[in-house]
């Protein structure tokens, strides 16, 4: 029997009839059409299904949709305002941190959550924050560079706007 689930995704409220065993990832991809979060391993090892729940990265493939009704879910589609990219997304493009792109939504969301908490992370802190996101193309160095550059860009913007 289907159950009614109320989800708040990217600032919008949705009421969805779904199975009790539906994961958040299935609802996002199949019922809301938000295909940014990917399914790769499906068992919580790779992080390609990462979304933010109240600003913190979680694995949508291991989250029951019914369990995340009180959270504000942010997917990669909800990150940018209009067509302007966020500093993290820009840096990923500039530094060549995207190759096949399958891990990128998860990487960008994990990096965004990290930089919000800690705008100037050390290399070790970036590694720790991204330990749950696997990438099989880049070898990680470009991603680490991109996250560091995004942090610098964000703190420059913050100091620039406060100085005005």
């Amino acid at each position: 029997m289907k159950i009614l689930v109320e989800l708040s995704v990217n600032g919008e409220r949705f009421e969805i009839a779904t199975n009790p065993h539906a994961t958040l990832l299935e609802v996002l991809r199949n019922q809301l059409g938000l295909t940014g979060a990917k399914e790769a391993c499906g068992t919580g090892e790779c992080g390609s299904c990462t979304v933010l729940a109240d600003g913190r990265p979680i694995l949508a493939c291991l989250a029951l949709a019914a369990d995340y009704q009180d959270c504000e879910i942010t997917t990669i589609e909800g990150l940018q305002a209009g067509s302007t990219l966020t500093p993290v997304q820009e840096s990923f493009l500039e530094k060549g941190a995207v190759q096949c792109g399958f891990c990128t939504p998860g990487m960008v969301l994990s990096a965004t959550a990290l930089l919000k908490k800690n705008p100037a992370p050390t290399l070790d802190q970036i590694r720790k924050a991204l330990e749950g996101n696997l990438c099989r193309c880049t070898g990680y160095n470009k991603i680490l560079e991109a996250v560091r550059a995004a942090g610098e860009k964000m703190s420059q913007e913050a100091s620039g706007s406060s100085g005005q």
Binding site: P20, T23, T43, G44, G47, P57, I58, L59, G132
Partner: protein, 337 residues
């Protein structure tokens, strides 16, 4: 990968959850964060008819009672346990252990209580059985072991990171059982049988973890060794508690707990006893680490040899003892890494 069908119950209190457990019995499984149960369900090695999700139960912040004991709610996320100032100052080993679990995402979902009750793992058991038509092993209700074909028992490993730390801290679990509540030391929670790892009754739930007040000249240190340093379950983990005498030279009390090498976390009782009353020096620490390695009997496993495991246990224990001595003697015994 899709989850098998089940009926979802979402109680809003531990009382209600225990009532549901009584009602549904063996057909129900508890999901706190879901990061341990859901992968097993996707692999088709667990297929409960009912899942009781504890997500709606309100979680209280860690707090200290009037005697200085630290109370941590069982449903506190591992990331919150790791970043809580109260936990970091009063039980740094617990914060370090919580931070060593899985990945950022898993720590944001998984709970402390869930990690304590982590199902023992085995490379043969923890993989997809959706398209495998082999006879079930002991852990799947069968009568054989893939790892030890002629064996008569299960060899899965208790891999929790927080449990050795909690044993080092002499922590206790508050358990809700029907209408009554009881307290049991975390160390006594485990049977050693990976098929039925916990001594808890079928309808018991851990509601709180209580860490006794930090003692003077005492340090508890947690160390973990894993293949990649991130995401992985521990190859070996270790927690060491060292209490020094008033002149800060001799050992007054010691715990050496080794996890992830057998069906339950192990204590190196002989090595601990041998440390008591002795003046701590590099050769004494070296001897204690050596004794620990020869005393602990690691279970057979398929990813590394017993002799390698013994070397890991020795070097990990030595490193933990050295750090514990440093912290206990310098007086900042309760500071985290």
């Amino acid at each position: 990968m899709q989850l098998p069908r089940f009926d979802l119950k979402r109680p809003s209190s531990f009382h209600e959850a225990v009532r549901l457990l009584v009602e549904y019995g063996n057909a129900a499984k508890i999901s706190a964060g879901g990061t341990d149960l859901l992968p097993r369900m996707k692999y088709r090695i667990a297929a409960p008819a009912t899942v009781i999700s504890l997500k709606r139960i309100p979680v209280s912040e860690p707090f200290q009672d009037s005697e200085g004991n630290l109370h941590v709610h069982a449903l506190v996320r591992l990331s919150d346990a790791a970043s809580s100032n109260l936990v970091r100052t009063n039980a740094p080993a617990l914060a370090d252990a919580a931070l060593a679990v899985g990945s950022e995402q898993i720590r944001n979902m998984g709970t402390l209580g869930g990690n304590v009750c982590l199902e023992p793992r085995c490379h043969y058991y923890n993989q997809s059985h959706a398209y495998q038509f082999m006879d079930p092993c002991f852990k799947r209700g069968g009568n054989l072991c893939y790892l030890v074909p002629k064996g008569n028992r299960c060899w899965a490993l208790a891999c929790s990171d927080t449990v050795p730390a909690l044993i080092g801290l002499r922590a206790a679990a508050v358990v809700q059982s029907g209408d009554r509540e009881y307290t049991i030391p975390v160390e006594e929670l485990f049977t050693g049988d990976p098929v039925r790892p916990l001594c808890l009754g079928e309808t018991d739930l851990i509601t709180d973890i209580v860490v006794p007040a930090a003692r003077p000249r005492t340090a508890v240190v947690f160390r973990k060794l894993s293949p990649r340093g991130g995401i992985d379950f521990a190859t070996v983990n270790c927690a060491v508690m060292l209490k020094l005498s008033e002149d800060r030279e001799a050992c007054e009390d010691a715990i050496i707990a080794i996890g992830a090498v057998s069906g339950k976390p192990m204590r190196a009782g002989q090595a601990e006893k041998n440390l008591l009353g002795r003046k701590i020096a590099p050769d004494v620490i070296h001897e204690a680490a050596g004794r620990t390695a020869s005393e602990i009997r690691p279970s057979m496993r398929c990813d590394c040899s017993i002799s390698y495991l013994r070397k890991c246990i020795e070097s990990l224990t030595q490193a933990a003892l050295e750090t514990a001595y440093q912290r206990a003697s310098s007086g900042d015994g309760v500071k985290p890494d």
